[in-house]
């Protein structure tokens, strides 16, 4: 089983943004816009969460040559990620206060 990811405030922000929108999938650019995290911070977080199985990603449907642009990679929270994040979120809320999605 994959090791749980390191959790920083930025990681919780990313998880929160993805969990707020249920089963919706978002590209890195959209997540960056929602959370205010720059690409330099965002992608290591997404990679860690995906490696831990908390997030899943897939390429958007469509042929890049037909679309005339590269495909976006879409991320969503997995069931495991949702459960684990809610546990962590509850701890954070109890200790530090204020995570709406927890």
């Amino acid at each position: 089983m994959a090791k749980d990811p390191r959790l920083s405030m930025a990681t919780l922000k990313v998880l929160g943004a993805l969990m707020e929108h249920g089963a919706n999938e978002f590209s890195g650019a959209e997540i960056s816009k929602k959370t205010g995290q720059p690409s330099g911070t965002l992608y290591p977080i997404l990679a860690r969460l995906e490696a831990a199985g908390w997030l899943a990603s897939r390429w958007e449907d469509g042929d890049p040559s037909a679309m005339g642009r590269p495909r976006r990679r879409l991320y969503k929270v997995t069931t495991v990620g949702r459960v684990k994040a809610q546990c962590v979120g509850a701890t954070v809320r109890a200790d530090l206060g204020g995570l709406a999605w927890a």
């Binding site: 390191r6 959790l7 920083s8 405030m9 990681t11 919780l12 590209s27 890195g28 650019a29 959209e30 960056s32 720059p38 690409s39 330099g40 911070t41 965002l42 992608y43 290591p44 990679a47 890049p64 642009r69 590269p70 495909r71 976006r72 990679r73 701890t91 954070v92 200790d95 530090l96």
Partner: protein
């Protein structure tokens, strides 16, 4: 004379700014492509194709030429971190912090040595090595643990590029809170 010089300087500055802006717009796609290519080369071979496409798509989604360059620079930073290394900014920051903290580090080191403890504690796990001050069951050890100051030597591993500053995680803070509750 003074007024004429000011007006001429202003005109010259606006011409130069316009030339610079046009040059920047022309060169921007190439600069972004090169930066993203440089970033993905730092990643393990099996991840390069994925991130080349993903990061190019990300930069395309961002409006404005400057925004795209900023995203591409961010991808460079991300690649350093994803390759498990501290980026150059973190290393410089950690080095500066170590310089400022030399007196505190020396004080703790010799304090632990004087209490008959081996000052540094090294732990190896499957994917990392951590360097910390020992936390013996003494007043100093307890203080170091509770304040998290036992993690200070980790800055040396950041300077060496072995860890990222992100390794000082929220979980550590939460553990401290729990420990204080006990």
């Amino acid at each position: 004379m003074g007024m004429t010089a000011t007006i001429l300087t202003g005109i010259l500055a606006s011409i130069l700014a316009s030339i610079f802006f046009n040059e920047f717009v022309q060169w921007r796609p190439l600069v972004v492509r090169k930066l993203i290519a440089l970033a993905v080369r730092r990643l393990p071979g099996n991840q390069r194709d994925r991130y080349l496409e993903e990061w190019t798509a990300h930069s395309n989604e961002v409006p404005g030429d400057l925004g795209k360059v900023i995203v591409a620079i961010g991808c460079l930073v991300a690649a350093e971190s994803m390759a498990g290394k501290a980026n150059v900014f973190e290393r410089v920051f950690a080095f500066t912090a170590v310089l400022f903290l030399v007196p505190a580090l020396a004080l703790i080191f010799f304090g632990l040595l004087a209490s008959g403890t081996r000052p540094l504690h090294v732990t190896h796990s499957e994917d990392e090595t951590r360097l910390r001050f020992s936390t013996p069951p003494t007043l100093l050890g307890s203080f170091l643990y509770q304040t998290g100051l036992n993690d200070l030597p980790m800055l040396l591993t950041v300077v060496a590029g072995r860890h990222s500053l992100g390794d000082f995680s929220l979980r550590r803070i939460l553990n401290l809170l729990k420990d204080e509750d006990r």
